[in-house]
Symmetry: none
Subunit: 250 residues, 2 copies
């Protein structure tokens, strides 16, 4: 069920204050195929909001491991990445942005257990907790004074990990076929004739207008059935015209 | 204050049920430097939760434009991308994933106003609303039966847009401006009337045909001058018709 590629990735939330954030985090994880949630001394028990926000990811919450210290949460992990609200100006840790984090996780997961650690909603991780991290990750933001909600951060980093491990998707099987060049040439000829008939197009100098029509319809990737529909429209216009001619000659 | 690079990007939320989601969406937008929020008939007024979850992004909520229809929200937009829960197996719209969406937005923003449209929490966008979109975007997910919370989707797509504009791609210098939604609506109305006049379109049941036309022309990225040319063609067809009527009454 879960993406095997991410089965060695765990999410650690430290002293989370709002039980709703745990539910939102579980949903964010599940959408990205991550199932291993570890909670270090959450401040409150699960609430109705936890389950409401988990919304289909209840299994993640039910299976979450609750521990009393960060080292307990990280015991089986080989590589630990701490989430930081901003890029730290320090050489003490390897720094990465969210995209680099995805790449790093994807490179390590086949052989290592990797943890992404998220601190308290307001104050993040303490310096002591940061010492347990091999690297820090930040999500590039427009403002320094505003940060992402914790579940939002888990969503974005989880998304980057999922993107980094995914294999290029097989091309979608199209439900319709594109019109062939032959079919499109038939349409252009039909269009040109109809435009000449209504005197919108000067047959003495037809080139520019038809070129523009070719560019326009060429960009649209017309399907076979759409080409048929367009020619049906032209026939309707032409029918009108023939009707006109016959009435004007009577 | 806001990333100038994203000032031409707007977020449109259609008939949002939970006022809290509007607050979360505003915060998600602000962290990524997006400020233009448009709400199509939200189902409930703002609540305490709206402001609590906006958390520092109150200005986005206060300046949000509330309108009564999707076309009203999109009137000044040149390119519209609808959020879809999954990749549609169809050629009817240009399909992109979140990353491709970021690239597309970054390429267009210097010269165009771009909208990202998000549907109702449970049911998304209606087929009719999808007709107003030039393309669909999905966030790749691990499960088909679970979707991202709407504010989470805005966070991820906003993040991808912000990442994509960080390093400005060499923009293809457009030689022409794209027709606005308003101009395209004028064209569709004109087209529909002309098709009714030549009896190609049954006014009792016009929907399917016009939907197909919207999809077709929506994919083509019609320029302002092309829209004028198309309407000139329609006028030529209509002129023919009027000529016919006058001759048939003599």
């Amino acid at each position: 069920m879960y993406t095997p590629a991410l089965q060695n990735l765990c999410i650690v939330m430290v002293e989370t204050s709002h039980p709703g954030n745990i539910g939102s985090a579980a949903r964010a994880m599940k959408t990205m195929g991550i199932k291993d949630l570890r909670l270090v001394t959450p401040r409150k028990p699960y609430s109705q909001e936890t389950w409401a926000l988990a919304s289909g990811a209840n299994d993640i919450v039910e299976q979450a491991k609750i521990v009393h210290s960060l080292p307990d949460a990280l015991a089986d992990c080989h590589y630990v990445i701490g989430a930081s609200a901003r890029s730290e100006r320090t050489l003490r840790w390897t720094q990465m942005d969210a995209r680099e984090c995805g790449t790093t996780v994807a490179e390590r997961l086949p052989n290592q257990k990797v943890a992404l650690v998220f601190g308290r909603e307001r104050t993040g991780l303490t310096n002591e907790e940061l010492e347990h991290c091999n690297a820090l990750v930040h999500i590039p933001m427009a403002f320094d004074f505003l940060s992402l909600n914790i579940a939002m951060s888990i969503q974005v980093l989880g998304y980057e990990c999922a993107m980094a491990v995914r294999e290029p998707p097989a091309p979608a099987e199209p439900e319709e076929t594109l019109a062939s060049s032959e079919a499109m040439e038939g349409f252009y000829t039909h269009l040109e004739q109809t435009l000449v008939d209504v005197r919108f197009l000067d047959p003495e100098n037809p080139r520019l207008l038809m070129r523009r029509m070719r560019r326009l319809f060429g960009r649209a990737n017309i399907t076979t059935s759409e080409a048929g529909m367009l020619r049906g429209m032209l026939a309707a216009f032409a029918g009108r015209k023939f009707q006109h001619r016959s009435s004007s000659t009577t």
